[in-house]
Amino acid sequence: MIRRFCMQVVFAVLVAIVTLYAVLPFLWAVISSLKTGSALFAGPIIPAHPAWENYLSVFRQQDFGRSILNSLLVAISTVALSLSLALATAYALGRVNFRGRRLLLFTVLGVSMFPQIAVLSGMFELVTVLGLYNNPLAMIFSYLLFTLPFTVWVLTSFMREVPRELEEAALADGAGPLTILVKIFLPILMPSVATTGLLAFIAAWNEFLFALTFTLTPDQRTVPVAIALISGASAHELPWGNIMAASVIVTLPLIVLVLIFQRKIVAGLTAGAVKG
């Protein structure tokens, strides 16, 4: 009896440690973002009077609003583009048995393992030739490198699970493949498409290497580049309050989305990884 109780206490402590480990650093970012001046470096851990100046000065000094708009434009366009390409592909790969299907599927999987740096010089050339340098369009184009394989792979595995009868009934009615895809599969797969889109959105929202290399001026930067390059009067005087405020602004929506779609995200991630 006592032994069992001890085990439960140990288990509860373990759960508490894991939870604190996961959550505390972000909480610290929130707390730090509400401190200014010397309060950041000294004084009570939790400020008695939260200071909102950091949140205002991020938008005044860095034009962070522009970066957020750039990021939204890039992420939403990337998601829309890769979802439409991937849905058509997933229909063919998941529902039709054609020669070269497996080869195509494995090529897509192979591309998802490409290190981004391996295409960087070739992509830079392409971006400059197309006249997209220092333009958010460069990111929308280049992000397909990682969003496309991922969305194709996940949507194909979801597409396979749809019962055959639904499609056969539509085929018997003489519906063409495009009609079947839009009228039959899209409504059934809507939740999976939304999850896959959310995961692709997060990947595009967070991307750093291409965004850093393909932009030059601050007004074209996406959020990760803006946050990485926030600087103060000197390297030793980084405005930590501002950096933390900017971090909280771009992370809080993501955390909320992830918490809401938690179960679906796990399903999407495991469909992408385990079924391979």
């Binding site: 288990f11 054609f98 195509l104 960087l120 184009f141 750093f208």
Partner: protein, 302 residues
């Protein structure tokens, strides 16, 4: 006559389906060639030229000079070393921690759903943000980590975690472990949930010690999920860029292969050298993937 039609008709539908299938995949193939195949080929080509970042159109073929220069560069070798150490240590720690978290989440306790959601938080944070956040926590004078460790009596003076060449790579590994353990835990949790409860029930009835159950039953049954999760993380860690670049920039003591290649490409404008480094990283990752997949196949067959 009617029987002949009946056998031929479904065939033509199937043929039409196959033909339309190619129309459905064609746009995706074009896009993949444009964003992956073509740029990769160009990188391979640049690696044997003297291409310069400011004007890529005047590249001259110079043979394997970039590769010989690369192999003679001590900074290249330290970037290889850093990448391998980073990959090995972070994936090892993530696997062990991820397994522990997955085992916890797989048991029944109050508020399990809320805890599982909380564990996902680091994964949802952009890498650049988590790098900046930990930079702040690691701050050499005012960082919360130094303050806490001094308060607990572990340290008697603050440590410059990021500036000190003996601690900076480990500090970065710790950030990556924090950020990626949730992903690992979720994949392993999915694997754990596929193991049927009857197996555990049988072991419990037989009175087998829980530790023995873990090593004899859980771990072998979890092996497929574990292998997939580990290879995903290894291939991802090999190409690490964001966390290292944001935390320590082009510092040689922590530079990964990706950071090295980008420095050559952009900062030194030496597209030839940078492409050579990127090509070698690509080859390294491809070799690891092939070896791993082959080994996993052989392991499955025997």
């Amino acid at each position: 006559m009617s029987a002949g039609l009946a056998t031929r008709a479904p065939l033509t539908i199937e043929q039409r389906r196959v033909r339309s299938a190619w129309w459905f995949v064609a746009p995706m193939i074009v896009a993949l060639v444009a964003v992956a195949g073509w740029p990769l080929t160009r990188t391979f080509w640049f690696s044997v030229t003297d291409a310069n970042f400011s004007d890529l159109s005047v590249a001259q073929f110079i043979g394997i000079d970039n590769f010989t220069d690369l192999l003679a560069d001590p900074v290249w070798w330290s970037s290889v070393r850093n990448t391998l150490v980073f990959t090995f240590v972070s994936v090892l720690l993530e696997t062990v921690l991820g397994l522990i978290v997955a085992l916890i989440l797989n048991s029944h306790f109050p508020m399990r759903g809320a805890i599982r959601a909380a564990v996902l938080v680091p994964w949802a944070i952009p890498t650049v943000v988590s790098a900046q956040l930990w930079n702040w926590m690691y701050h050499d004078v005012f960082g919360i980590i130094n303050e806490s460790l001094i308060w607990m009596g572990v340290l008697d003076h603050p440590v410059a975690w990021i500036a000190n060449p003996h601690t900076n790579l480990w500090a970065i590994v710790a950030v990556d472990v924090w950020k990626t353990t949730p992903f690992m835990a979720l994949l392993l949790l999915a694997g754990l949930q596929q193991i049927s409860a009857e197996v555990y029930e049988a072991a419990r009835v037989d009175g087998i010690h829980p530790v023995k159950v873990f090593f004899r039953i859980t771990l072998p049954l979890l092996k497929p999920a574990l292998l997939v999760a580990v290879i995903f993380r290894v291939l991802d860690a090999m190409r690490v860029f964001d966390v290292i670049y944001v935390m320590t920039g082009n510092n040689q003591t922590t530079m990964s292969i990706s950071v090295y290649a980008r420095q050559q490409l952009v900062d030194f404008q030496n597209v030839g050298m940078g492409s050579a480094a990127a090509t070698l990283l690509f080859a390294l990752i491809a070799i690891i993937a092939v070896i791993y997949i082959t080994a996993a196949r052989i392991g499955k067959e025997t």
